[in-house]
């Protein structure tokens, strides 16, 4: 197990390095000239040159990459002399558009995304899995057909549409909840909750629809297994048969899906954050793409990739814990 984890971590590092190289190469061929973007209207070639020098854009690509990596592990210094400033470990770059280092930008936005993702995750797992189980147990009956019908509608809607519907009905038409901008939990728990509740529901609805189907199908498959018949033949009560033997095996595959989906969301819920104006990682990514803020794009891509790769490892380890047949080697 130990050797396995180490091997996986090494592989993970390898993947991140490869990814960062690819991102670097991709951006270097983009036509956008970062210096020109910052420098504005009254630009002269000498200013551009100065800016390029300050941020290292006049260096060969390999040197730029080396400095980027160095920044992550040992930190780096931008500019020279008096104008020089430090970017501390882990330095993911510096956004001259925002005049802020990328690490700080991510530190500010990631918690918001994380709150959105985790809240939505809890909600969708609770709702999706439980209605999936109900549908499986009532297979073919009206409960099953209603749930599955609703689920189909649920995930054939694009996410922005669900979000807009929520805003329209809850905030505008019935005015149950006013518009609330994001407030830290520590400042005002009530405001915090009001700002996040709709985004949570929007995220959860989408995933719950998918998870209810997944759960139903997994449960049905499990309930048809021979060992479920054995459990009944032992004389176990039906609730033990389903609640213990059925759920344990039926929900295992859900762990994989859930882990990866959560990781995907942590990388930024682009649309939901945009629609609900939540200043999260997703919005940061979208904004930086529209403004061609390369250092920020690179940083957010790396963070998102990190979550996905990490989730893969965590899910595999969890699986080995749940299913004794899985041997990690």
């Amino acid at each position: 197990m130990g050797a396995y984890i180490i091997r996986r971590l090494i592989a993970m590092a390898g993947m991140l390095v490869t990814l960062s190289v690819i991102v670097f190469l991709l951006f270097s061929v983009l036509p956008a000239d970062p210096a020109r973007l910052v420098c504005g209207k009254s630009c002269t070639p000498s200013i551009i040159k100065a800016i390029n020098h300050k941020f290292g854009y006049d260096q060969p690509l390999a040197v730029q990459y080396k400095e980027f990596v160095q920044g992550i592990f040992v930190g780096r210094t931008y500019g020279e002399g008096k104008a020089a400033f430090d970017c501390h470990v882990p330095c993911l770059g510096y956004s001259f558009l925002r005049n802020e280092d990328v690490t700080t930008l991510i530190k500010d936005t990631l918690p918001i995304t994380a709150q959105l993702a985790l809240g939505g995750f809890v909600l969708w797992i609770l709702v999706g899995v439980s209605i999936g189980i109900v549908a499986a147990l009532k297979r073919g009956k009206w409960q099953d057909r209603t749930i599955m019908g609703a689920a189909l509608v649920g995930y054939s809607f694009p996410s922005f549409f669900i979000a807009l519907l929520l805003i329209f009905f809850v905030q505008i038409k019935f005015a149950v909840l006013g518009f609330h901008s994001y407030t830290s939990f520590f400042d005002s728990p009530a405001e915090w909750f009001k700002a996040l509740v709709l985004p949570w529901i929007a995220v959860a609805m989408l995933y719950a629809a998918f998870y209810s189907r997944l759960t139903r199908n997994q449960m049905l498959e499990t309930l048809g297994e021979d060992y479920i018949r054995t459990a009944r033949a032992k004389g176990l009560r039906e609730r033990t048969v389903i609640g213990k033997h059925g759920l344990r095996a039926g929900l295992t595959p859900i762990v994989t899906a859930a882990g990866l989906d959560l990781a995907g969301l942590l990388g930024g819920a682009l649309i939901i954050e945009q629609v609900f104006a939540l200043p999260g990682l997703g919005r940061l990514s979208v904004d930086s793409v529209t403004t061609s803020d390369l250092p920020v794009i690179t940083g957010t891509v790396m963070v998102a990739a990190f979550f996905i790769i990490l989730a893969n490892l965590v899910v595999d380890l969890l699986y080995a814990v749940i299913d004794p047949r899985v041997r990690l080697a």
Partner: protein
């Protein structure tokens, strides 16, 4: 036959499906006494497993229609409350299945699964249950039972897993044990071990056993009585010698003629049954075996095509479902099965 412990009368099981109603079991009668082994033989799809699951109350009554009578020690099970039947399952009647790997839960240790089986029916502490589990593993011939309790099903070999299944079935001293193809998935050497074990255990506990199999060798080795099923029906029923030495039903002849024998001369050609088993959705009007039967022309008046034969007794123990005249049946049997399996009753005298 002594007082039957289990009596099945006119059992019918129907599954409604999209293509039509599947009559998986259609009027099955038999009885098993304590200390006896009743074998149910037949090809796949003949309704053997459905019959056994109906006895155990494992058929979902919401999706299937089950009618008839099943009496366990006089108690009628089909009309009993489900909770009542559940309390008998694993206690007075237990079952083992064909594929021991898929029949054990992959995520729970052997010990957990055995203890659970004890605790459903006995109000004992966990450690007492664990002790019982250990002793039973020892009894069914599993070396190192203490270590095995901690193992998971996938850690064991096929034979060991089937022993675990047997141990699990026997934990509560059931009076009836149903074994659905218990050795089909195993190698012959392991099959011999398992059969031996079942025989020993029966001697020790006096259990009534229903042995379901398609292997006529295993039947000959273990059974006292035999029920031959075809297309969801009992087509012949009798003592083991009746079925092997005095079979009277063309399907039984076909089965016996199809199996190659280790001890016979190798140049003997097999005598297969032509055609395929019937679909259970649209059964022929007359005899279910009619499409594959070479003898229907001997029955006057096309009765094989128009009339369902009844299961009629030849002797008190031996019953046959066929329109052929009994004397004629005996003649054909003697000719088809030859001297190798001639009536031992005659030779013994």
């Amino acid at each position: 036959m002594s007082d039957p412990f289990l009596q099945v009368k006119d059992l019918r099981v129907q599954f409604p499906t999209e293509d039509g109603v599947v009559s998986a079991v259609d009027g099955v009668d038999f009885a098993v006494a304590k200390n006896k082994v009743l074998a149910i033989v037949g090809e796949s799809g003949s309704g053997k497993s459905v019959t056994s699951q109906a006895i155990m109350g494992l058929i979902n009554r919401k999706t299937a229609k089950v009618t008839g009578e099943i009496r366990l020690d006089g108690e009628e099970l089909l009309t009993a409350r489900p909770e009542q039947v559940r309390s008998l399952r694993g206690k007075r009647m237990a079952m083992i299945f064909q594929d021991p790997l898929s029949s054990l839960h992959p995520f729970y240790s052997i010990g957990k699964q055995l203890v659970e089986a004890v605790n459903v029916h006995q109000d004992v502490s966990r450690s007492a249950a664990m002790q019982q589990a250990r002793d039973m593993l020892d009894r069914v011939g599993i070396p190192n039972p203490d270590r095995r309790l901690k193992d998971y099903p996938h850690n064991l070999s096929g034979g060991m897993r089937q022993r675990v299944m047997i141990a699990m079935a026997l934990l509560n001293n059931p009076e009836l044990l149903i074994a659905d193809e218990p050795t089909t998935a195993l190698d012959v050497t392991v099959q011999a071990q398992i059969i031996n074990l079942l025989r020993d255990l029966q001697r020790e506990f006096g259990t009534a056993i229903i042995l379901i199999t398609h292997d006529l060798g295993v039947v000959a080795d273990m059974a006292d009585d035999v029920v031959v099923m075809y297309g969801g029906r009992v087509v012949e029923r009798g003592s083991i010698d009746d079925i092997y030495y005095r079979p009277e039903m063309p399907y039984t002849w076909g089965l016996l003629g199809s199996v190659p024998r280790m001890d016979a001369g190798r140049n003997e050609r097999l005598q297969p049954i032509p055609g395929q088993p019937p679909s259970l959705i649209r059964l022929p009007k007359g005899c279910v075996f009619r499409p594959r039967c070479a003898y229907h022309e001997l029955v006057p008046g096309n009765r094989c095509d128009t009339e369902r034969p009844d299961l009629l007794p030849v002797t008190p123990e031996h019953a046959v479902r066929c329109h052929l005249d009994p004397a004629q049946r005996r003649e054909i049997a003697a000719e088809r099965l030859g001297v190798a399996t001639a009536d031992p009753a005659m030779e013994d005298k």
